[in-house]
Amino acid sequence: MNKLRTVTAHLTVVLSLMFLIFLVLDQFNPMMNFVDNSISHWLLALLCVSGAVHGILYYRKG
């Protein structure tokens, strides 16, 4: 369970930073569509899942 918590923590941090970078890039070049494309949609779903799992594991640990 500890391993899963470590993995989800890393995933959440990395994906969050990726989306912050996408948002900044989107300001410079919106036509590249960094935020609203199919790959980003999958990454966003992954971010949500990892964030939720990490939160639940945190609660479990109490």
Partner: protein
């Protein structure tokens, strides 16, 4: 765990995250826009209702849109006459439909320029004094029985720009080229190479359609893509008219019925529907600010201009409001912004004549002026 080891653990985790972040961004970029990937095209061919016999009975370069898609690997392609009737092949598509959001400064209807000018003379019968019976070339001009181009370099303050004033007797002289002759993302070619491969007299970069899956892509009478977009869309028709409309106003049915020859998705529109200067643009501040630019202007059917503005160097670039004013000063009735920045390149008589920012970059498409008949 004491404070020191806790601190070490934190830095170790952060280092791992930064490494993973770099790896993630590289993989994302590869799949998002770097790796060439052929895309599924709608493959709808709109036939030219104004197609005439070539004047030259010998070899010619007469353009047939139905052959243009062969290289894109599209088979069983439906073709449509500009009257909107399907001629053969499978059923068409509505391209996924457009939304009705439209982040455009234009009103929700397309600019009906022909109705405004009241001019229904075919472009083949207009501007006779602009053409010559034979090909006449100088450093800044090219005239032939079908094409007249005058290229000028202008400097205003700290802005240097190039204007190509273009008259065409046959709209198929106003062509597009796809990098690697393939529709897809990640395919890139230099504008010079695309110009050379297509024997273009003049070429500028297009809308870099390969960077996104949004919007409308019609090239040389073939509808490759007609997806939802909030951007303005620019459509050039077989009859020589050009309309700039909000993405929400574009439909495949209209494009087929009206005989669309080219359509680009980048924008924004640079002039209002009545040809007046726009002061507000649905774009971010960074996009509106001074940058190198490429844009297309429209005077009337058969008469256009392509403008490339240098920037980020000796020339500082131009803001969108300034570009809008420039097209109003040129006397255009419609104008549309294309991809800019490092992409902004103009090739004239086989040479890049502007100073592209950062040395320029390859692009996924180009706008070309090329002869469709061979003249000596």
């Amino acid at each position: 765990m004491n404070d020191t080891s806790r601190k070490h653990s934190l830095w170790r985790h952060l280092a791992i995250d930064l490494g993973l972040l770099a790896l993630g961004l590289i993989v994302f970029a590869l799949f998002h826009h770097v790796l060439p990937r052929q895309q599924q095209s709608l493959g709808i061919v709109i036939e030219n209702p104004y197609k005439t016999q070539t004047r030259d009975s010998g070899s010619n370069f007469d353009f047939d849109p139905s052959t243009a898609i062969a290289s894109a690997g599209i088979s069983d392609t439906p073709t449509y006459s500009a009257a909107g009737k399907k001629n053969n092949g499978r059923g068409g598509s509505n391209g996924g439909g457009m939304n009705d959001k439209g982040g455009s400064a234009l009103s929700d209807t397309a600019t009906e320029t022909e109705e405004e000018t009241g001019d229904s003379t075919p472009i083949s019968e207009k501007f006779a004094d602009m053409y010559t019976d034979t090909v006449v070339v100088t450093d800044s001009t090219y005239t032939s029985p079908d094409i007249s181009i005058t290229v000028t370099e202008e400097t205003t303050g700290r802005i240097t720009y190039y204007v190509a004033d273009i008259y065409v007797r046959d709209i198929t002289c106003f062509q597009s080229a796809l990098a690697r002759n393939t529709y897809g993302s990640g395919f890139r070619d230099s504008i010079s190479d695309m110009a050379m491969l297509n024997s273009a007299l003049l070429a500028v970069n297009g809308d870099y359609y390969g960077n996104t899956n949004e919007g409308v892509v019609i090239r040389n009478g073939v509808i490759y893509r007609a997806n939802r977009t909030d951007c303005d869309v620019c459509v050039l028709y077989y009859d020589g008219t050009m309309k700039v409309m909000p993405g929400s106003a574009f439909t495949v049915e209209d494009a087929v019925n009206d005989g669309a020859w080219q359509a680009w998705t980048f924008g924004p529109a640079l002039l209002d529907t009545d040809g007046s200067v726009l002061t507000s643009f649905a774009s971010t501040r960074r996009i509106i600010s001074a940058n190198p630019r490429t844009a297309i202007g429209y005077y009337e059917p058969g008469h256009y201009c392509l403008v490339v503005v240098d920037g980020r160097g000796d020339s500082e670039g131009i803001t969108l409001p300034e570009l809008s004013q420039l097209f109003a000063d040129l006397g255009c009735t419609a104008a549309y912004n294309l991809d800019g920045g490092n992409s902004s390149i103009m090739v004239w008589q086989d040479a890049v004549i502007n100073e592209p920012s950062g040395g320029g970059r390859e692009s996924s498409d180009a706008l070309l002026i090329a002869e469709v008949n061979r003249y000596e």
